[in-house]
Amino acid sequence: MLELKHALDAKGHCLLEMPSGTGKTTTLLSLIVAYMKAHPLDLTKLVYCSRTVPEIEKVMEELRKLMNYYEKELGMEQNILGLALSSRKNLCIHPSVSKEREGKVVDGRCYGLTASFVRARHGGDDSVPVCNFYEGFDAHGKEFPLPPGVYNLDDLKEYGQAKGWCPYFLARYTITHANIVVYSYHYLLDPKIAEVVSKEISKSSVVVFDEAHNIDNVCIDSMSVKITKRLLDKCSNSIQILETTISNMKENDNRRLEREYQRLVEGLRDATIARETDMALVNPVLPSEILEEAVPGTIRTAEHFVAFLKRVVEYIKTRLRVQHVVQESPAGFLRDIHTKVCVDRKPLRFTAERLASLIRTLEISDLTDFSPLVTVSHFATLVSTYTKGFTIIIEPFEDRAPTVSNPILYFSCLDSSIAIKPVFNRFQTVVITSGTLSPLDMYPKILDFHPVIMTSFTMTLARPCILPMIVSKGNDQVAMSSRYETREDTAVIRNYGNLLVEVAAAVPDGIVCFFTSYLYLETIVSSWYDQGIIDQLQRHKLLFIETQDAAETSLALINYIKACDNGRGAVLLSVARGKVSEGIDFDHHLGRAVLMFGIPYVYTQSRILRARLEYLRDQFQIRENDFLTFDAMRHAAQCLGRCMRGKTDYGIMVLADKRFSRADKRSKLPKWIQEHLKDTNCNLSTEECVQISKRWLRQMAQPFSREDQLGISLLTLEQLQSEDMQKKIQQRAQAA
C-alpha cells in the first residue's frame, strides 16, 4: 500500500508482485478509492483490467464490500459509480439475440439491429426490426446517468431490464463518467477494441492490470495477424458481395457514394483534431502521420478500392503457394508487393480505415461475414505502417503434419511494447500486478517503460503454509529431468510415476500435476500405463486428464471437483500454459499438492518464437536463454500458485526436475515461494519428499483458528493502533 501510494504521488507506473489470496484486490481498490476521495482533481478514474469474467465479478464483489464499509462508517451514501463491462454476449438482454452462443454472432446481430442506418430505415418502414432496448436507451438513457453504486454484469442487466434500456450501450456510455471501471484487458490493449470503447477515458486515471504475468503475450497477440488459405477464400467471397452491392447502389443511390468520396477527400481531419485536443487514446494501428494526409486517390472511389483489395488478396494467395518456409521483414514484403502487383505502401496504410468507411456507406448490417476481410485489411495497414518490430513468416505446412499442405501466413508482432505504449503514455499511473511476476526486472525491459516502484511482497503467515520442494532424483538415484535427451528414458518416466504414486498415497484430496506439453503428457501417460503405474495410482485416487478440447476438459474438471468433495480424492494431469494452469484456482482441498514435472520451456523450434528471441536480443539486449528461462519460470510459478489461494489454505509444491535446484532457476521464483524453499528441501529423493510432506501435512491439519493469526498475519484495530505497531509502520515508511 505504501509503495502504491508512492507511485500514485509520483504519477508514475509501478510493478507489484503480491501472492494471491492476501488481499491484493482489496488493497488496490481501497487505497485508490481513498486517494480518489482525497484528491479528486488529481485522480479521477480507476480502470481495473482483469483477465476473465469470473475475475471481473470477484473484483466487483470486493468493491461492493468496500462501498458498504464506507457507507457504514460514514453513514451516508457514497457518490462513487463503479461498473463492470463485458462483451455484448454477456450483457445482451434482447430476447432472441441473447440466446446466441458465439460472441461474434451476438455482435453481428446486435450491429444489424442497432446500426444507425438500420434505425433510420426503421423510421420509414416499421417492418425493419430494431432492438427495443437500444431504442429505449437512445431515447432516454443518455439524459439520466446511472445512479451512484456498484454494478456488476447482472446488476446492469437487471437495471436495463427494469428500465428497458440496453445494458451494453448503457455501460459503454457510462464509462466516460464512472469512477471505477472494471473490464478485460483486451479493451485497453487491443487497438481495434480500444478505439471503440476506451478512447474517451481521461488522462488522470489509474490503470490496474491484474493477473498481468502474461501481459506481454496479450500485447503481442493483439497486434499479430494469422492468415490461412480458408480465410483468403472467404475474403474473395466478401469482395464479391461488396462488388454487387456497390453496383446496385450505383444504380439506385449514387449520391451516397459521392458523398463518401467528398468526405475522404477532406481526409481524416476530424481524427486529427480529436488527437490534438488530447481527447482520445492514440490508436497504434493509425499512426499520427497518416492522419494528416487525405486518403490517396487510388482507393478513393468504391470500385477502385474493391479492385485494390482484390489485388492484395490475390497477391497474398500467391505468396501462400510456397513449398518451403519463408521469413521476411515488412519492408521486403512491401517491395515485393510493389513489384509484383503494383500496390504502393501508402494506400495499403489506409486499407483498414477505407474498408470501415465503405462498409458504413454500403449499409451492410451483417458484419460477421466480413471479419476475414477486416483481418486482411488490418494486416495490410499494419504491415505498411510498421517496419520495425514485426516479421512475416509463411509456413507451407504445420510442424506436426509435414505432409499435409496447410499454408499459413503469420504476421507476428515481436515487440510487446508497441501495443501497450499508448497506455503508458496516456495514463498517469499504470499498476501491473500479479501473484507471479518474478523476475521483476524483465517486465520493464520487454514492455519498454520505466516504473517508479518495483516490489515483490511476501506473505506474513502464522504458520508455514506452503511447502515447496525440489525433487531431483528417484529412489534409485536416477536423476529426474524433462531434458530433451532424457525425456524418453524409461527410468526417468518410471521415477516420475513413482513420485506421483507415492505423493498420491500421502496427500489427501486433490493433487494437480503439470507437464511441459500435451505431447509429453501423452507419451508419459501411455508408458505409465504399460508400466502399471496407472493401476497403482488408481488404488489411491481417481485420475483425470486435461485435453486440448475445452468441453472435455471442463467435464473432467467438474468430476475432479466432485471426487475431491466427497472424499474419494483425485489427480488431475494437466499442462503448463494450458487452460487449467491459467484461469482455474485449486483452493483448499482441491489442490493440496501441485507437482511440476519438468521445466515448462516453450517450444523453441517455433519460428515465431525464434524471430522474437532474435529481436529481443538485438533491441533490448536480452539473451535468448534469459528470456526462455524467465518465461519457463513464470509459468512454473503460475502453476505452483494454483494451490495457494489464501492464508488459511495450505499446499505442497513439488518441482520435479534436477534443473530447478540451479541458482539461475531457483532465484527466478517469486519471493514468497523462495522464502519457504529451504536449502534442505532442494535436491531431494522421492522418499525424502514423501516423508517431509507427511510430517508437514500433520502439522497443517492441526486446528487453526482466527485467533492464531491475530497479531501475526491479522491485526485487530486495537493492535494496529498500538504503539509498537505504529512504530514499526513508521520505520517501514522511512526505510522505503
Binding site: T27, K65, T460, G567, L697
Partner: protein, 397 residues
C-alpha cells in the same frame, strides 16, 4: 471489512524460528493453546452433559493401516489405545454403551454390538489384532451401519460415533452428503480422528454433525486425542430428561434381605459375564454382585444385566460421573507475576518457557499450564481449595 490489508506492514519478526530455523515450535505452541482452549471451553457454564452415551467406534482396517508410521503398525497402535479408551470410557461413563465396527474392502463389519460390558469389547479388540487389513475403507457404509444401530436409542441418551480413520480416501456406493444429512437429522454426533492428514470430507462430516475432527502429530498426540473423547460432550439443544432405572447390587450377602431368594444368592455360581467362555470363573460366596432384580451374578461392575437388562452400577461409579456435571471453574490465565516463583501444585519453579500462569478464582493459588490441564482433566478438584481448610469445609457443607 476488517483491517486485513494492514498485514503487509507486519514484519517477519512475528514468526519465531527455533534453533534449526524451523517453525515447528510455533505449531507446537498453537497446539498447546488449542488444548487449553478446549479445556476452558468444556468447563464454562452449567451445561447439560449427556451422561448416558451410546457410542460406536469405527476402526479403519484398510490397507493403509499397515503403515508403520505409528509403531508397530498403525492398526496395532490404534487397537492398543482403544483398549485403554474402552477401559477409561466405562470408568468415566458407567452407564453408557459402546459398540465397535471396522471398515475394509469397501464394506463395514460389526465387531461388537452396542453393549455395556467392557470385558467383551476388550476381548474383541484383542482378537482383532490378528485380522488382516485390506482394501479401501468406506465411510458411508460404516456410518450408515452405525446410524442404523443408534437410530432407535432413547432420546435422553447421546448418540455418538467415533471414527479412527487412517486412509486418505473413501470408497462409497452413493452420495455421502445424504448420509451426512440423515446423521444430522438423527442427532448423531460424529467425531473423527485422522491418522495421516486432513481429509476434507471428514472435516465436513464432523463440522456438520457437531463433532470434532483432529489429526494426530504422533502417537502421544493420538492417545491424547482418543482420551479426549472419554469426556461426555455437552448436549446440543434440549434433550429430554428422564428417569432411568438402575440397580445397585449389594456386595455383601445379608441374611435379613428378603427381597431375593437368599439360598440361590449364596450358592457358588458361575458369573454371567464369563459364562460363554471356557475360562469362566467360579465365584465363591462372598465375591460377586447380584442383580437386585433377577439375581444373576456378575464379577464386575458396571454391567448391563444379561437376564433382565437392568443397568447395574455401584455408587462410586455414579459419583465419578458426577464431576462432569459440576466441573471446577476455569482458572484465569494471566501473565507471570515475578513474586510467585513456583507452581503451587507441582512445586516446579517457573522458567522462561512458562509465558502464562493460571490462577484459581476461589483460593487464588497459582499453577502452571501442565497442572492446570491435569487438574481439569484428571483431578477435577483444585488442590489449593482442597488444602485450604475453610474452602474445603464450605464445599462439604
Amino acid at each position: 471489512m476488517k483491517m486485513e490489508f494492514t498485514l503487509c506492514f507486519v514484519s517477519r519478526e512475528a514468526i519465531k524460528e527455533d534453533d534449526d530455523g524451523l517453525l515447528e515450535s510455533n505449531v507446537a505452541e498453537i497446539v498447546a493453546r488449542a488444548k487449553r482452549k478446549r479445556a476452558a471451553l468444556k468447563a464454562t457454564g452449567a451445561i447439560q452433559l449427556g451422561m448416558m452415551r451410546h457410542l460406536y467406534v469405527i476402526v479403519d482396517a484398510s490397507e493403509c493401516m499397515f503403515l508403520q508410521d505409528l509403531k508397530p503398525t498403525r492398526f496395532l497402535c490404534v487397537l492398543k489405545l482403544l483398549e485403554m479408551f474402552v477401559h477409561e470410557f466405562f470408568d468415566l461413563n458407567p452407564i453408557s454403551q459402546l459398540g465397535i465396527l471396522t471398515t475394509k474392502m469397501k464394506r463395514s463389519e460389526q465387531v461388537t454390538a452396542l453393549a455395556g460390558n467392557q470385558k467383551k469389547h476388550i476381548e474383541a479388540l484383542q482378537q482383532m489384532k490378528d485380522t488382516p487389513c485390506d482394501g479401501e475403507p468406506s465411510l458411508q457404509n460404516s456410518l450408515e451401519r452405525a446410524m442404523n444401530g443408534l437410530k432407535n436409542m432413547p432420546a435422553h441418551s447421546s448418540r455418538e460415533v467415533l471414527v479412527l480413520f487412517g486412509s486418505l480416501t473413501t470408497c462409497d456406493p452413493g452420495d455421502i452428503q445424504k448420509t451426512i444429512k440423515s446423521l444430522k437429522e438423527n442427532n448423531i454426533r460424529v467425531s473423527i480422528i485422522g491418522l495421516a492428514a486432513e481429509v476434507r470430507i471428514c472435516r465436513e462430516i464432523a463440522k456438520r454433525t457437531g463433532g470434532t475432527y483432529n489429526v494426530l502429530l504422533d502417537d502421544h498426540h493420538l492417545k491424547e486425542l482418543i482420551l479426549n473423547q472419554v469426556q461426555p460432550p455437552a448436549v446440543a439443544g434440549s434433550m429430554e430428561a428422564s428417569l432411568v432405572k438402575m440397580g445397585f447390587p449389594g456386595g455383601k450377602p445379608s441374611s435379613n434381605d428378603g427381597a431375593s431368594d437368599s439360598a440361590a444368592d449364596h450358592a457358588p455360581a458361575y458369573c454371567l459375564c464369563h459364562i460363554e467362555n471356557e475360562t469362566s470363573c467360579l465365584m465363591g460366596n462372598n465375591s460377586g454382585y447380584n442383580c437386585p432384580q433377577c439375581g444373576s451374578r456378575y464379577c464386575e461392575l458396571p454391567v448391563e444385566c444379561k437376564q433382565c437388562g437392568l443397568t447395574l452400577v455401584s455408587a462410586p461409579h455414579l459419583a465419578r460421573s458426577y464431576h462432569h456435571l459440576f466441573p471446577i471453574k476455569p482458572f484465569i490465565e494471566r501473565a507471570k507475576v515475578p513474586e510467585t516463583t513456583y507452581c503451587f501444585a507441582c512445586a516446579k519453579p517457573f522458567d522462561e518457557s512458562d509465558l502464562n500462569v493460571y490462577e484459581c478464582e476461589t483460593c487464588n493459588q497459582i499453577v502452571c499450564l501442565d497442572c492446570d490441564l491435569f487438574i481439569r482433566e484428571i483431578l477435577h478438584t483444585c488442590p489449593g481449595c482442597a488444602s485450604d481448610p475453610i474452602t474445603a469445609q464450605m464445599k462439604t457443607n
